[in-house]
């Protein structure tokens, strides 16, 4: 049985806006507009989409702090909105912009409280804390009041707080927001290990696609509250009708290569020419065709970077694209 199951999940917000002195307009915002997917135990899934796509709203429904307006939702067999408290013992959540930590007190105090709150057996608590302290480099921070921590330090503190009770699922809503390169690498390494060693299922929301590339074998892209892609990272290229680039170095400067079928001339820098072709097509016949007709010296094939693929996808996401298989 999948650990997380969404079936036609919806959330509609009603917003009231003043339109005149006394007149008010009610408008419905469909933040989540019929999303269905399942996540199995031990998966590490990226959940991405442009601002306002409905990612945080989904995460809130997954934790039970928002009640869905429609559809069905189960996490570990539990309906989150109805049994929020029971579910909370089995999931961990990090809201990147918010903190669970006690603002005025040392980090250690918040952990002690977590210990009590989740009734973690003493030995488990000690072990988990020691692990988090080591892997997230919190050793020097334990006795510092949270308000004196930097953003990145606080975030690491929050991630540790979400994991002390051995949750089965961890939701991370922008956990690397505002972190420097070193902190990001540390957090990613930690998450990877968590997933590999403990089998913790991770659902990760982020705007940093490197997070996804380094951590997730599966990505879901949502836009305007709808799932527009669900599949492997590789398949994203095709789904976003990405193009690959064949870069050829010719013996000398020549007019643009426009006569090779399946390739589109993009630009030339002296003897070097850039030809685009569909990401799903093979490069071999193109290379052969070019080599046959032109004095080819060297060549390389460039994969489109995921950023531009996704940018394209965000821009033109209208219909439903289903990429790779539902789950890897």
């Amino acid at each position: 049985m999948p650990l997380i199951e969404l079936d036609g999940l919806e959330k509609t917000f009603t917003v009231r806006r003043k339109t005149g002195l006394l007149r008010r307009e009610r408008r419905e915002v469909r933040a989540v507009d019929g999303i269905s997917f399942t996540v199995d135990r031990g998966e590490m899934v990226g959940y991405i989409g442009p601002n306002g796509a409905g990612k945080s709203t989904t995460v809130k429904m997954l934790t039970g702090i928002l009640t869905p307006s429609g559809g069905r939702l189960r996490v570990a067999g539990i309906d989150p909105a109805r049994e929020r408290t029971r579910l909370a013992r089995r999931v961990g959540v990090v809201f990147g912009q918010r903190t669970t930590l006690w603002w005025d007190l040392p980090l250690r105090d918040s952990y002690r409280l977590t210990h009590r709150m989740y009734r973690i057996p003493d030995d488990r608590y000690e072990e988990n804390l020691a692990r988090c302290v080591e892997l997230l480099d919190l050793g020097d921070l334990l006795d510092v009041p949270v308000r004196q921590l930097s953003l990145g330090q606080r975030m690491r503190g929050d991630i540790a707080a979400a994991l002390l009770h051995d949750p089965e699922v961890l939701y991370l809503d922008e956990p690397t927001i505002g972190l420097d390169v070193v902190s990001k690498a540390r957090v990613r390494g930690f998450l990877r290990e968590l997933n590999a060693e403990r089998g913790t299922t991770v659902l990760l929301t982020t705007h940093d696609l490197t997070d996804i590339e380094q951590l997730c074998s599966r990505v879901m892209v949502i836009d305007h509250g709808r799932l527009v892609y669900d599949g492997g990272l590789a398949g994203l290229h095709e789904a976003g009708d990405g193009e690959r680039m064949l870069v050829v170095d010719l013996a000398r400067e020549l007019p643009p290569i426009t006569d090779v079928p399946g390739a589109r001339f993009v630009r030339a820098d002296g003897p070097r020419q850039h030809l685009a072709f569909p990401a799903s097509a093979s490069a071999a016949p193109l290379v052969a065709a070019v080599a046959e007709a032109y004095p080819l010296v060297d060549l390389s094939v460039r994969e489109p970077d995921i950023e531009s693929v996704i940018a394209k996808m965000y821009g033109g996401a209208a219909g439903e694209l289903t990429g790779g298989p539902g789950s890897p």
Partner: protein, 290 residues
């Protein structure tokens, strides 16, 4: 590898017992945190102490002038009236006479959506804040309550309670008063789920509390029906009842029980109302922010 999350518990009765222990320990930890949180702000405590003391002196001389005109006003001697002033100063923050001391923070969390984090905890929101507030009150009583009372007592030699039993009876009434205050202000804060900007409600509650808690003038002084009304409202449980327990006006036996009963009755009603508002809010209303 994976770890068992819920080690099986042997017998159900054993489990409920340790369950309660666990709960108590959790809330004790929360309360201790509330205490220490406020203890980190020493300068604020000192400033508060200073304000309470100055305010106490100003009110004392006002009351002295008033009681010189009308001795025995409201059945208080002038020495009783002075005690009343300083009790008011001592309980100002403990019993939330002019603001509960936590509702601004709670409202702000609701407004910004930080409440999401609180709601995700496997703990009841109201109990959590109640425990944290109890810690705050304990600190305020020690840090900001005791000293002005002592200064006032030295400066004016007002009425003191009747021995240790009198002090104990008073402290118990104060504890109940602080819980009633919590329940009241929690209810006020819950309005922020619907209104988002809780300031209007807070101000209305503040003004009502200022008047009906007897912070400006003892409720005994209010004439006729107004006085009776004031005595029946929950705000009377915050200052008037503890002060009258202090002054021994409830006597010892049934009178005291009646006073505590009044406080406990309002406590139950207000906590239940707060809980109802909370569950309506979390069921229907929206957590703000992305």
């Amino acid at each position: 590898m994976r770890f068992a999350l819920f080690p099986p518990t042997s017998s159900p009765s054993l489990r409920t017992c340790s369950e309660r222990d666990n709960m108590l320990r959790l809330y004790a930890t929360v309360a201790a945190g509330g205490f220490r949180r406020h203890a980190t702000y020493r300068v604020a405590t000192l400033a508060g102490l200073f304000t309470n003391t100055v305010f106490g002196f100003v009110l004392s001389y006002t009351y002295l002038a008033l009681w010189a005109e009308r001795p025995d006003l409201g059945g208080y001697s002038s020495s009783d009236a002075l005690a009343y002033v300083w009790i008011g100063q001592a309980l100002l923050t403990v019993c939330g006479l002019m603001g509960g001391g936590f509702e601004d923070e709670l409202i702000e969390r609701i407004r910004t959506g930080d409440i999401a984090v609180d709601l995700h905890r496997p703990v009841d929101l109201q109990s959590w804040w109640c425990a944290a507030n109890a810690g705050r009150c304990a600190y305020q009583l020690a840090g900001r309550g005791a000293v002005p009372l002592l200064i006032g007592a030295l400066a004016f030699r007002f009425t003191l309670p009747d021995g240790p039993a009198g002090w104990a009876a008073f402290l118990f009434a104060v504890a109940l008063g602080s819980f009633v205050s919590f329940a009241l202000w929690y209810l006020v804060a819950m309005s922020a789920f619907w209104l988002l900007d809780g300031q209007g409600v807070v101000q209305a509650a503040w003004l009502t509390g200022l008047f009906f808690s007897g912070m400006l003038l003892p409720l005994n002084v209010f004439p006729g029906a107004l006085g009776e009304l004031a005595h029946a409202l929950p705000w009377a449980a915050l200052l008037q009842v503890p002060a009258d327990v202090y002054l021994g006006r409830y006597g010892e036996g049934w009178g005291l029980v009646r006073a505590y009963g009044f406080q406990l009755g309002w406590l139950a009603v207000l906590l239940a109302a707060g809980r109802a508002a909370q569950s309506a809010a979390t069921r229907k209303v929206v957590v703000q922010g992305g």
